[in-house]
């Protein structure tokens, strides 16, 4: 393994995760460099989502630790992990179905501005012009501005996903974790999402992206790790991974 690198912002250090007898993750050592887009690919059940769950505090690793920006995340609560600058888009969208699209996108901005808890029940949402404008701007960017007053629950699957991405982006996180952000999207929406993700890359946001769609992976990733059976079986630039026979056998061959 490489020695400590100055640019590494997320270090998943020697993480194991077992569920009963199942080794969902074994010997995972992953270093993500600042400002880069790091893709994680692998067949179904490889442990990709489990890896993200360990990073955001949904699951405690059986062994090992996660270090982000010099802080150990392992053992912290999910909201604390978000507050240090980690946001996540889930594989099945986690949104507020009963709130309006606009409110969905506004809520994360409050967590960013006011912290994990603020007792602000005497001020009015209508007076929060700055956050509202920012949210409307974001909705324009992702093309959901005309749906802003709709219940988020009545959006299509792809739109929910895009909205969840917008929710995360409202926080300007240092690290954005995306679990299959384009699944269920039309080709057109997938391409707009790719463009959006490229745009935020220019702003220097670090991203970890899990994706089955190779078109998305190869148009975004700086580096790819291939996960199979809970282990990283290959790692490198898109070119290196594409030409790696082990990968072709374990994954690309199976999928295509």
């Amino acid at each position: 393994m490489t020695t400590a690198n100055e640019n590494v912002v997320l270090h998943v250090a020697d993480v194991h995760k077992t569920f009963g007898g199942l080794h969902a993750l074994s010997d995972i050592d992953l270093q993500i460099e600042e400002g880069k887009t790091h893709a994680i690919i692998g067949p179904n059940g490889a442990g990709k989502s489990t890896l993200l769950n360990v990073v955001v505090g949904r699951l405690a690793p059986t062994r090992g630790a996660v270090v982000f920006d010099g802080q150990v995340l392992t053992g912290k609560q999910p909201h604390e992990i978000n507050q240090v600058g980690v946001a996540r888009v889930f594989q099945t969208p986690e949104i507020f179905p009963e709130l309006s699209v606009l409110q969905n996108v506004m809520a994360p901005a409050f967590a960013k501005r006011d912290g994990a808890f603020k007792l602000n029940f005497l001020s009015s949402l209508a007076d929060e012009k700055q956050i509202r404008e920012e949210a409307e701007h974001m909705l324009e960017d992702i093309g959901l501005i005309h749906q802003k007053d709709m219940h988020a629950g009545s959006l299509s699957r792809g739109d929910k996903r895009r909205m969840e991405l917008a929710m995360c982006l409202m926080q300007h996180p240092k690290l954005l974790l995306l679990d299959e952000p384009t699944a269920g999207m039309s080709r057109h929406d997938t391409n707009t999402t790719i463009e959006l993700l490229k745009k935020i890359k220019e702003r220097g946001m670090t991203k970890v992206i899990i994706e089955h769609d190779m078109h998305v992976v190869f148009s975004l990733a700086d580096k790819i790790s291939v996960l199979a059976g809970g282990r990283i079986i290959a790692e490198g630039t898109p070119e290196e991974v594409r030409n790696n026979p082990k990968v072709q056998e374990a994954y690309l061959g199976g999928a295509h």
């Binding site: 609560q77 946001a87 507020f96 808890f117 603020k118 007792l119 001020s123 949402l125 219940h151 988020a152």
Partner: protein, 387 residues
Amino acid sequence: MNLQGIFSMSRKDLTTLVIFSIVVLALPIWLQPFGAAYPDLMQRFAIFGILAIGFNILFGLTGYLSFGHAAFLGVGSYTAVWTFKLFSMNPIPALFFAVIMSGLFAFIIGFVSLRRSGIYFSILTLAFAQMSYNLAYSVLTPITNGETGLQLESSDPRIIDSMFVGEQAGLPVSNFFGLEMSGIPGFYFCAIFLIIGFFITQRIFASPFGMMLRGIKSNQTRMNYTGFNTRPYTLTAFVISGMYAGLAGGLMAVTDPLAGAERMQWTASGEIVLMTILGGVGTLLGPIVGAWLIKYFENIFSSFNENVLHNLFGFLPDGVESVVVEITSMFVGEGWHLTLGLVFVLVVTFLPGGIMEGYRRITAMFTGGGGDGKKANADDKQTQPAE
């Protein structure tokens, strides 16, 4: 916090507040044709209205269903009566301490109960309330006076009052600087608190805090991964709603200075839940409508007895009459809860959003549709669908 910020309301909220205030203050007038314009009942309208809107801040916004809110009502009543006994018959200190004590009590119960959610939370609150009820009957008898209930006595110290007025004959009445808190003045006193309570609820509904509570109801997981620590939010909502219940309990003692443990019984907690669901969970006005309807019909139905029924159905042939009376008498008087239960089942089955949903459907019909519920109007916090 600037004052302007506190009082800036949307035009819609302001209109609602003004109309609501007029409706409440004019209760003695418009209730007359319904035969309900007597002070005792109207006081209950105001008091249970406060209880229901407070409960709705917890249940309607966060989705946490407390089955123990009557405990806070009881704590409020006991505290108010003790304040009368020890300090003064003025209702203001009594209500102040009632709200503080019930708030503290809610903090403790909420702190423990909110470690769980869903049915486990409900059961925990129910257990705490039943414990309080049993304690009030047993160990705490020195404080609660057990089964007899806590009452005023002429030997009470009333430290503050005794500095200003000498010994009086008979039991004192709670009075707001001389104005006795019974009858119509008592109603108006409660009505003002209902209006203030309603105003505060409107503020909460329209605030970022209110949106966070709705977020918790909608998807707590998303709240956590968005950086919100949800526990203090739910605990605050729990304490605020406990304080509303304490205020209601205090007002009960103000209008009638005695406190009994039966006020804390689980049926009383259940009644609060019924009021809120019947009127419309999560709406601003629904819980008040529910409280008023239940209190109104309780009053009517429970006053029916067999004699009244015989008179009512006197026109029927004898054999038929006795059968009809036999059947209807099951639903009135003591059996009024059976009627309530039936109505409740009907409403929950056909109008899950409560009476407010019925109202919305009807207005949507007359304004030419658009009421497909697909739009969540972001400016209109009061018509958020319940579930």
